[in-house]
Symmetry: C3
Subunit: 369 residues, 3 copies
């Protein structure tokens, strides 16, 4: 079960064609097909990608000005989702309309609000500043997973996996797994959202520079590394990380690496997920080759994750009733699942639904499916 | 749920191998595997393609005269489905037999009756005359769909889609969608079948010749076009269509196009369908290149349909509980679904089953799955 | 439903990498992923291939001495399945362990015991002597099936199919199907296992040498052939077969063929199966080319089986409720299914489960799924 009253990223800005393009962009979010297009005034429209008449995808039709015409029987919808023309029908029924979704562009991420439109609140958008900031440079990434999104949340909430899954890419030392992170709540905007997520802070002293750093810079000492990230609802990671020559804290060093990463997961269906990501470096600390090197390393590493999580998912699917065993390293993921479960429960209570979602229990394998 | 006491096309005549061939033809109809072969006297046999012993397909065995021998343990069945030999068993049990189905060849279509054999009635065969008539020429076509057959019935019962799905092939004008067709019942042979289907008549005046006409003939004027078809149970379209230079009704013109089309849908499984089709032109109005041009255009157009209907089906599968919205253009498909539902209900009542099939409700998406 | 307290073959000996290899071997048995590796002292370990923590496959991790480390978060397990290290956790919880399975190597087959380890009894291992015997030579074979294992048991329990499925390979005469085999119980080691299987003895006199014999030897007479095999629980065939020039019984002849075959089926999932097999000839009756010829013929023949059984399985899946029709030739398979059902029932009764497994009824199609 998914949280609905929140923002999910549906696309990178550059994925949505220009208004004059014949292409229509569609992506499934929370099991619903969603069409996104730009109006001539530069605005964005997010619309149910399903004609109200016979359920054909509108994305198989065409743009007509700021409207979209269904390619099956020709119904035409305006940007508010109202059917403004139905061929052969002089007076279009008022109820002929498709749903539209609140949509916001923030720092190159296109967010949609899949729940109650009246509750859409831009104060709940994450601070993905480095996706579009002159001081930071990155290449944008996207990956599709055939696993439930919560398994990927779990992965991102426990960086001990860097020592093993990413031994030869992002990791490079078992010290990362040995370090005990600090875990704190992340305050939300208040009201229904006193807590928005979990902050995980991990310091690792005197370790070899990780392989992916070495691809864009030479080092002659060990590093002190840090990973400080907020993992906020529904499923967004915002991280400052980096490494400085061991024992140089407070000093400036040409070898210090400072990165900021924004990553977010959007459920496509119960068992598939969209993954949007970038990891930025300071604009004044590296040229395009550095940007490209970091992106390429990230792609390799995130395929390592996907390979592992897909294998984990196959195992869970084989024997879904076997319980998992929570360990100390799961503190952040357990807290996040509890936070999420509370929000889903509150959302359901507000709409009259009453079941507590077992899906969010982190100690059973079924929790992840 | 399917109507069972009726004729379904299982094959074009030419698909069934000659008696002397080693090949055995099999196709699944209404979820049942059916073997069809020719006997030495030129007759046809339609037989359950499943040995009564261990359910191996008989089509993986071999012909022995007019009998078929199972390729697994060697049981031999005569054209009546009776097991006439079981290796090592001196006296074959009388109940060792497979089902046979009434089978009829009419105008090159091979029809099987999947319901109660005693009710098989050739008066219920459609008049697919142009499939085998000296005055008409065509190339036969077959297409496989991975969608429920009713979604394709819907498509054929509302030609407003010609303006959009087939804009660049069969359509060529939004006037087709604008025109309001006449809809009438088609009388059946009487008895249990007072009504056999729905007649849809659509006239479109003064429109450009459709792209597919232009591929085999040059025109110097607009056309008045007509589409007059019966869509009869279980799922057969019989259509006269054509176009004449605008304003020449009643006159003879070298530019007039006269076509007759026979198309029929046979459910393979709940979610897949066989589609047999042809569109004939008058034998004295075009040579083989015209025949081929029309066939090629039809294949392109029917792939346009399949592409759209498959996308519609994926949308329905994502959210099967969302209701559809009936509009005026759905009159024929709603009437046909109602007719079909009535027949299925009657058939079930006659066999003691009592549920009204929700599958036939045209206003819900689930109706189509 | 599967019998659990018995030995299943998980691999040929040569499939398990040497201790110094970086490779880890995994195979799913009875729906459970199982890791098998060799310890430095030459022993074998069979271990649940699923970390107790988050269910990642251990086979995606790495060997560390005689231990295995999970590649996700680094938990390390010793050969007893005990977690001996969890990164960042000073005191590993005692319950952090994965299951291990009794594992035995016998004549090149690696057997695992998937049920209650305390009941593991090597007296229940089959006598697969020819898999590793100086007097016999073979090439080992493995085939994967996407069908339930019981359909393959059925196949092996009724050799009348040799006349039809293997007409051009192992069969060569309809006399095989005509012959009525003797069927007897095979005694078990006693206790809970008074009967271990079914013995099937089939003699076929004066038939042409089968095509696969002719591939490695020339014959100038017909043969008397014999097939004498035990089919023992859970699903292992142990067969002496051969052929001698007709009428030469008791005499020595250079044309006599003497073979011993060991074949065994291991359920992977409800609908897929591992098939391990070999057919040996006497070491003093043929060189390597004979060994290879027999192996190649077996591969061709067993693909004929798989093709037929897969088609049978598709038919059963289409209409699972249609009953099968038992015939005299099914005597052995019916008796074996009854024996198996009894053992499964006893095993369930011993663990408190009470349902009689309908899965073992040989007269319904559902019995096989």
């Amino acid at each position: 079960m998914w949280l609905r009253n929140c923002w999910y990223v549906i696309a990178w800005d550059h994925e949505i064609p220009a208004p004059e393009s014949a292409q229509l962009f569609t992506r499934t979010v929370l099991g619903e097909p969603v069409l996104v297009y730009r109006t001539s005034d530069g605005g964005l429209v997010a619309m149910e990608d399903r004609c109200c008449h016979r359920h054909a995808p509108l994305s198989k039709g065409r743009r007509e000005g700021d409207c979209v015409r269904c390619g099956y029987h020709g119904l035409k919808f305006d940007p508010a989702g109202v059917c403004v023309e139905a061929p052969g029908i002089p007076i279009v029924p008022a109820k002929a309309r498709v749903r539209t979704y609140p949509v916001v562009l923030k720092n190159r991420w296109v967010f949609v609000w899949m729940g109650d439109a009246e509750q859409a609140d831009t104060a709940l958008l994450p601070d993905n500043f480095s996706c579009d900031h002159p001081d930071w440079k990155h290449q944008p990434g996207y990956l599709h997973y055939d696993t439930p999104y919560l398994l990927i949340c779990d992965n991102l909430l426990d960086f001990s996996h860097l020592s093993y899954v990413h031994e030869k890419t992002l990791g490079g030392s078992t010290q990362i797994a040995q370090a005990r992170p600090e875990i704190e709540p992340v305050a939300g905007p208040g009201g229904d959202w006193p807590v928005m997520g979990i902050r995980v802070s991990r310091q690792v002293a005197d370790v070899p520079p990780p392989p992916f750093y070495r691809k864009f810079r030479a080092f002659d000492t060990n590093l002190d590394r840090w990973f400080i990230y907020d993992f906020v609802l529904p499923a967004t990671l915002l991280m400052h990380s980096g490494g400085r020559p061991t024992g140089t804290q407070g000093q400036d060093s040409g070898q210090t690496v400072r990165l900021h990463s924004c990553q977010t997961l959007t459920p496509e269906t119960e068992t598939s997920t969209h993954y949007f990501f970038q990891q930025s470096h300071r604009a004044d600390e590296g040229d395009d080759s550095v940007t490209e090197s970091i992106f390429n390393s990230l792609v390799v590493a995130f395929n390592e994750d996907r390979d592992m999580i897909s294998a984990q998912h196959r195992n869970i699917a084989l024997n879904p009733d076997v319980p998992m065993m929570p360990l100390a390293m799961d503190a952040a993921l357990v807290q996040f699942r509890r936070l999420l479960a509370g929000r889903v429960q509150a959302e359901r209570a507000a709409t009259g639904a009453s079941d507590f979602p077992p899906v969010l229990n982190a100690t059973t394998a079924t929790s992840a499916t």
